[in-house]
Amino acid sequence: MKTVIIQYNAGNITSVKIALERLGVSYTLSNEAEIIQQADRVIFPGVGEASSAMKYLQERNLDLVIRSLKQPVLGICLGMQLLCRYSEEGNTQCLGIIPTDVKKFNNQLKVPQIGWNTINTLNDSIFNNIPENAFVYYVHGYYVQKNDYTIATTTYGLDYSAAIRKEKFWGVQFHPEKSAQIGEQILKNFLSFS
């Protein structure tokens, strides 16, 4: 079973690699269409800025590749936001795989949200063996509203999507690779999908 991590210009992916190594999972890091298409599952990480990330993907036709994937795909943080239609960050047209939009936090709290917050109203097999209100690690200044594709929520000034899913595309706003045992269980759940 081949797991491929999409390699692009959005920040540091070392922690995702190391998390998979800790779980004993082999992976390939790639930005090549063929390798990504032949994966059994794909992890689409990302810490960075939406418009420059989309630009990088488009220049290499990776946007088309990601849209065409039929195997399980896990978008993490910016990766999740890029699966959506549109992001207020850099006024960016995203991949449009999950029909919802990404907004900027506009409240009295500190932005970006950095730290451990809960995941609530869990409603998907990616959360098998995860208790309600478990803590996971978030770092983000933009968020996805609650919508028809929401599979977990969280609260920071307002309720919004901690995770979304459409068919075989999952997106998590938090960083499972940095979320202790809870994050490891979520990664294991995803890695069991086919």
């Binding site: 540091n12 922690s15 810490v47 950095i114 730290g115 202790a180």
Partner: protein
């Protein structure tokens, strides 16, 4: 609800953890990898590593150590000490650090913050500041681990750093560091209320009440300590239990 973070800090010299008070009478506090693993099991919310020698000769030892620790921790991991350039940050991220803290080099060259935030994102850049109340009610920035005084006002420097893209502030009060008499509550509150990014309070932790105060009155987003954790004067599980009992949201 976003939890307040409890962060153990490992001061590193020649590959070992040292008790880092004023850089004198350094006491060995153990193997950093073993300590890191212990803290992860104890539900520390993050780990911070500061290379207190930060010399060129020690750099490769540090990289190796960062990699070793990153391989066995599943929580966020910040590394600092002697970071001066994009290359320094790249090397540390490649070894598995999640965030990088910068201190003296940023004061000497403030555009470093702008450059690093642009290259790696603000979430990656922690501005560490060593501060002393040299005149009552006036806090100044100190450099090189507190050895060099400046006339830079701490609050305006921190605001400038946030404007330049620092994503978090690691605020150490030299007046409190090593005293075990409590954190700099007033200063922490002033900083926390004057910036839009999280503030990590450091220096002075001696008992659990001190943590409660810095969160409730000092409005810190996170609190960092070293020796009280290394020598198990306070354990993280009992601290979190205590904080939770006192209505402070923590991850348990």
């Amino acid at each position: 609800m976003l939890a307040k973070r409890v962060i153990p800090c490992l001061d590193i010299k020649d590959g070992r953890t040292v008790k880092g008070t004023n850089f004198v009478n350094l006491q060995d506090a153990g193997n950093p990898v073993e300590l890191a693993i212990r803290y992860v099991h104890e539900q520390a919310d993050e780990l911070v590593f500061l290379d207190i020698t930060a010399t060129h000769e020690n750099r490769s030892t540090l990289y190796q150590l960062v990699h070793e620790v990153a391989s066995c921790v599943n929580i966020p991991f910040t590394v600092g000490g002697g970071v001066r350039s994009i290359d320094d940050v790249n090397m540390l991220l490649k070894q598995g650090a999640d965030k990088i803290s910068i201190n003296s080099a940023a004061v000497r060259n403030p555009t470093l913050i702008t450059t690093l935030a642009k290259e790696f994102g603000s979430q990656c850049i922690v501005l560490a500041v060593d501060v002393k109340e040299a005149i009552p009610g006036n806090w100044f920035v100190y450099l090189n681990g507190g050895r060099i005084a400046t006339e830079i006002d701490a609050i305006s420097w921190i605001q400038e750093a946030v404007d330049r893209g620092a994503g978090e502030i690691l605020l150490t009060s030299m007046d409190h560091d090593g005293t075990k008499n409590g954190f700099a509550i007033e200063l922490t509150r002033k900083i926390s209320e004057s910036v839009t990014v999280p503030v990590i309070a450091s220096g002075g932790a001696g008992n659990m009440k001190h943590f409660e105060e810095v969160f409730k009155i000092g409005k810190a987003d996170a609190a960092l300590a070293a020796s009280v954790f290394h020598f198990q004067e306070i354990t993280i599980p009992e601290l979190k239990h205590y904080l939770s009992k006192h209505q402070i949201p923590v991850r348990i």
